[in-house]
Amino acid sequence: MNCEELREHYELYALDIAEEPERSEVRAHLQRECEVCMAGVKRALETAALVGATAPQAQPSAKLRRRILASVGSEERRSSGLPWWAAALAMAALLVIAVYFAASSNRYREQAARLRGEMGAQAGQIARLTQAFAILSGPRTTEVSFGGAQPRPPAGKVFVNPSRGVLLIASNLPRTAADKIYEMWLIPRGAKPVPAGLFQSQDDGSALHVRPGLVDVASTAAVAVTLENQAGADQPTTTPLIMAALPATNP
């Protein structure tokens, strides 16, 4: 087809409702950088964008901005919600107290240092639980159970959300030696496992581990856990203790 025959299909193409064979013809013209069709489709895309801008104005939550920035590693992620503010305020107050006590005696200094450490640990715990809650409450979270059929299994559930991350909740994990640690893996279909963070189990064999961030659920076959040396590994070096296969999704 020539450009003249295609010109009344530019807008349909831009709206993604052009039919065959015109759709493929327009695409072919664009791929060979046909100037006439490039100009026509560009104008049609402008109009399509303007139609998009007619949607009724709505206001996203303030958290969305922080989530987006956090997902590219921006510093602003540190202020993600009330628990953080509370933790930050408590931390600031603690530091003031620490300075005061530090001037008084070594004993107070040690106490303040210990409290600071505890506050830091609590802040980390709050962050982890906040991430876990976000995954659990995500509207597109997939839930997979594992370990139910084994005689003495590490058992539990894996929750996967495409934009919020992966949450592992496990029980019956064996006690680890001092120089060992658990490592979680995302296993893509037909590709090497990707490290998804290190964690330790509690004394009772339970564990909660979060790997925040985007997950390509469609191309992920399973979530696994292996026991590794303390520094972790780039690829699994032992047989997985946990293997949670994700259901296949539409491509």
Partner: protein, 192 residues
Amino acid sequence: MLPLLMAVIAGPEERALVLRLQRRDPQALAELYDRYGRMAYSLVLRVVRDGAIAEDLVQETFLRVWNRVHSIDSEKGSLGPWLLAIARNRAIDYLRSSAGRERKAVELDETDHAPLYSGMEADILISDQARRVKVAMEKLAPNYRTVMELAYFEGLSQSEMAVQMGQPLGTIKTWVRTALQSLRDELGVVAS
């Protein structure tokens, strides 16, 4: 209203913003969000009608822009229309998968089409044209407006619209053509 005002003010800085995004400056992403976040969210919410899902999809949209901004020409690229196209594609894609509808064989790939967003007005989304399209959409006869909305906000093909509206395919095609002609007339655009 604020994002629109910011867009007006920031229009001439669009090229610099593209360059900063290409240099992986997270603050540039913050500015991009301040400029287009509400508009993208409004569009996606109109499509999926669920605030939590809309926020997830807007997050994916901005990350996609962040990861693919190198495909935009920093000299001429216009981020707004490109970003809205990505947002709309994400939302329609979600809608189609959640409804068990098949995806189209050839999807409008916004990365392949990135060069088409070169040379657009940086502030086209808040220009007089935007206002005129809004007015034109409101003035369309109900059937014409419905087919435009089903196409743009629901991602329905003309055949799917025919089934949903209980009309012959030929009638739907006529309505779509007429609706597009009305928009064209309102914008003073002559079919290329």
